[in-house]
């Protein structure tokens, strides 16, 4: 009767497949107005005046003076306003909000804004304003570099990436019960809740309910707090429900993207290929406000030395301010950028030593008993060698590498890892809670963790069912509604299964003890309701120092190795992936089909990042903000994927599971670029579009 490890039917049912599932834009409420955001058209300056070129009768108009509480989107650092007061720091910054019941009239309303224009700054390397500086030190890098046989240096660059969830951002705010309720497409209901409390004041009655969400990938982690605030301001001023749904252009121009990066490596080696010193500089382009840049940088820096053993490491990271729309969370959260750099660098080290790059990785891959850059001792669930060996064997890597030489085919490999859960002391600070209630027919899960396609409801229900020993079908999942559920933290950081799933497992075990052999229905009938709430307990061996950046950065890591085969058109320089082998170890799949879906989907996002997805920034704004001009992989751009899931259980996760959501994003880009290097082009940046390849030197 167990369900863990089986691909049971999704809890979402058939609604997604029949069109019956209702997303934010599908909801229409009586008396509802449509809302619109008027945004800055300059990257830097001050607002001098606002003129309305339309009859304002029938419009609700909101500016910063209508904000009753703090004009700050509360997140980490208090710097980003909901609405511009005077200073404009990027293109598409919200200045004014309009609402009207007639959408045509709303869109036709002309607002002219006069500015005093200031000089914008676009180059993060020239920026003098740093949002965060991180240093990780291990051993004595300068001394080890001085004693190294060989030193290899290089700089690696990545651009923005746009999330392209197919459902654009959208929320509906409803004035009710003397306060406001926001229904929206979002990943983190309590982030929006906290931002609304700050916006309206601590005594305000605020409620946030997640609507069915058409994709997130990090893009609906923090920005929905902004949209929720806007819709709520319009709703409270008009006294009517207000729907704010972005069209694709607005969504692409205004909302967050993956941070562009510049990573420089200086690495010392022995002649036989042992890493003896790694000196790494990481620069992220944060955009105009800090948003999540500090924590993106943190995860990026911790992963910057790659899954390798080295006694002397120095990682210096900075997130810099520029006059561009703020960059934010995107699947992988800084690690795809830094792991790209280190994996292409490893390929260049192998070239410099005249050594086989698989052998170089075999010599240096982290194993149980080794220590990471932060000094974390790896336990038995470290699987770098297993994923590497399996990927090399399964893809016939070495034979193909020889056979393709001199043809238009290339093959490349990347070894990578990803820490599961919040970084450092994050989980300890969050103190996430989960709640499990008895119902008349089974149990009900009440958590804030959102279903965004990845299978939250299903996987949580499987864990609870098996921990309680009841059928999967008798577990129900409450909608993420801040008035109803326990705050299980944000749905991010590959934590929903490993961290929240574990709390739910403990809730279920506690409930099982109380039931003492009775079925849930029997207990409910005879003894009445029962509710169990539990809080996250970090493993007792976890040690982390936020000041020194030393210790257990994550409770555990998931591991992966990708092999990408490509074919290049020698006339157009167009590179197409022809086959991808993906080997990943993430503890244990709770639901194998959903896990496979995470790996396949994440891998294809990574291939898009590598080969297609280029955000063109012009005068501080995305110039190609359409799906015609910013291309993501279609069926025809997607090769056959050979997926292997290895198991190496982590006893701090439910039924041995670790985190999986982000891991697949880390590997494809460096594997693609290493395949292109195999074709003889000295490529060190993303995306690998023909224009870039044409400008590359030959190896």
């Amino acid at each position: 009767m167990t369900s863990v490890g089986k691909s049971v039917s999704r809890k979402d049912g058939i609604g997604n497949d029949t069109g019956r599932t209702r997303y934010a834009d599908d909801i229409v409420l009586p008396g509802m107005l449509y809302g619109r955001t008027v945004r800055s058209t300059i990257p830097h300056g001050t607002v001098r005046g606002i003129r309305f070129g339309f009859d304002t009768a029938g419009f609700t108009i909101v500016d910063h003076r209508d904000i009753p509480g703090r004009n700050i989107v509360a997140l980490i650092d208090d710097d980003q306003p909901f609405l511009v007061e005077r200073a404009v720091n990027h293109v598409a910054e919200p200045i004014l909000l309009l609402a009207h019941e007639d959408r045509e009239k709303l869109l036709a309303a002309k607002v002219e804004i006069d500015y005093d224009v200031a000089e914008p700054l676009y180059d993060p390397e020239r920026s003098t304003q740093s949002f965060k500086h991180i240093t990780i030190l291990k051993g004595d890098v300068d001394d080890a570099l001085a004693r190294a046989d060989v030193i290899v240096e290089g700089t690696y660059r990545t651009g923005h990436q746009e999330h392209v969830y197919i459902e654009t951002n959208g929320v509906i705010a409803v004035p009710e019960d003397g306060g406001v309720t926001v229904y929206g497409s979002l990943q983190c209901p309590f982030y929006a809740y906290k931002a609304l409390k700050s916006l309206f004041g601590p005594d305000a009655k605020v409620r946030v309910v997640q609507t069915e969400t058409g994709g997130g990938f990090g893009g609906k982690e923090e920005y929905p707090s902004m949209i929720a605030g806007h819709a709520a301001l319009l709703a409270l001023k008009s006294g009517r429900p207000v729907k704010v749904v972005y069209d694709r252009v607005e969504d692409m121009v205004a909302t967050t993207k993956r941070h562009p990066s510049i990573v420089t490596h200086r690495t010392g080696l022995t002649r036989d290929g042992r890493l003896v010193a790694m000196d790494v500089d990481v620069i992220l382009d944060g955009g105009a406000y800090s948003t999540l840049s500090a924590v993106v940088l943190s995860r990026g820096c911790i992963h910057a030395a790659g899954p390798y053993r080295c006694d002397h490491i120095r990682i210096n990271g900075q997130a810099m301010m520029t006059n561009t729309p703020p960059n934010g969370a995107f699947r992988g959260f800084g690690a795809p950028q830094t792991e790209f750099a280190v994996e292409v660098h490893m390929e260049r080290i192998a070239e410099a030593l005249g050594m086989d790059s698989v052998t170089l990785r075999e010599i240096n891959a982290l194993e149980p008993g080794d220590r990471t850059a932060t000094g974390q001792l790896l336990r038995d669930d470290a699987s770098a060698r297993q994923v590497l060996d399996e990927a090399v064997h399964r893809s016939d890597f070495r034979r193909k590498r020889d056979a393709y030489r001199g043809t238009n085919k290339g093959i490349g490999l990347a070894l990578f890892y990803h820490g599961a859960g919040f970084t450092g002391a994050g989980e300890e600070r969050l103190k996430s809670k989960a709640r499990l209630d008895l119902t008349d027919s089974g149990v009900r899960i009440l958590v804030a963790s959102t279903e965004i396609g990845q299978g939250t409801r299903t996987m949580h229900a499987q864990i609870v069912a098996d921990a309680l020993g009841i059928p999967y079908e008798s577990v129900d999942v409450a909608p993420p509604d801040t008035a109803l559920v326990a705050d299980s933290g944000p749905t991010v950081a590959s934590r929903t299964c490993m961290v929240v799933g574990k709390i739910l497992e403990r809730c279920a075990m506690e409930m099982k003890q109380t039931l003492d052999g009775m079925s849930p229905a029997e207990y409910f009938r005879t003894k009445g309701p029962l509710s169990v709430v539990m809080e996250h307990v970090p493993p007792d061996w976890i040690r982390w120092n936020d000041d020194t950046y030393q210790g257990d950065a994550y409770p555990t890591y998931s591991w992966g190795c990708d092999v990408v085969e490509v074919e290049m058109d020698l006339d157009t320089y167009e590179v197409r992936p022809s086959h991808v082998t993906v080997v990943q170890e993430f503890g244990r799949p709770i639901h194998p089909a959903l896990a496979r879906g995470q790996i396949e989907g994440g891998t294809v996002q990574g291939l898009g990042y590598a080969l297609l997805e280029r955000v063109v920034m012009k005068d501080g704004a995305m110039a190609n903000a359409t799906l015609t001009n910013y291309t993501i992989p279609t069926t025809l751009d997607t090769p056959e994927l050979d997926i292997v899931m290895l198991e190496n259980h982590y006893d701090g996760g439910p039924f041995g599971a670790k985190g999986l959501g982000e891991l697949p994003m880390d590997g494809p880009a460096p594997a693609v670029v290493n395949a292109i290097r195999h074709l003889g082009l000295d490529l060190r940046e993303l995306p690998a579009i023909p224009e870039t390849l044409l400008a590359c030197n030959s190896l």
């Binding site: 058939i14 029949t18 197919i166 015609t628 069926t635």
Partner: protein, 144 residues
């Protein structure tokens, strides 16, 4: 405008230049047809017009006169494609799924994997990497 919608004759009064997508969603309350881009790139609004798949965001309502239109709602809730998309996890977030199923609906019963790839090339999915969608369409083949 008179046309046949999901098997029934209808008479809908809306501006002839309104997008068919908006008419279906707002006048006919058929919200299964989704908007992903508004420019015919993503295929989330795919419907059948006289048996051929089309992006409803690119069709002015004037062109609906006298046609036969089928939306995802016209497939009911037990079509083999729908059941196979559910069983094979061909839908993750689900927003592209109605359009994807409508594009798969017009594929030949003996479509090869390559035919499926070409037939679905106008429908973007950001979640699945398409593999599970192929598995669903292949599983549904010949069951209709």
């Amino acid at each position: 405008m008179q046309f046949t919608l999901n098997g029934a004759p209808v008479d809908v009064d809306a501006h002839p230049m309104k997008r068919l997508l908006d008419v279906l969603r707002e006048e006919c309350a058929l919200t299964g047809t989704k908007e992903g881009c508004g420019e015919g790139e993503c295929g989330a609004c795919t419907v059948l017009i006289d048996g051929a798949s089309a992006c409803a965001c690119l069709v002015p309502f004037a062109q609906a006169e006298g046609t036969t239109i089928v939306t995802i709602e016209g497939l009911g809730d037990a079509h083999p494609l729908q059941r196979c998309f559910m069983d094979e996890v061909g839908a993750q977030c689900g927003i592209c799924t109605p359009g994807m199923i409508m594009s798969a609906y017009v594929l030949e019963a003996d479509a090869s994997l390559e035919d499926i790839r070409v037939g679905l090339a106008g429908n973007l999915c950001r979640c699945t990497g398409y593999s599970a969608i192929y598995r669903a369409v292949i599983a549904a083949r010949g069951k209709a």
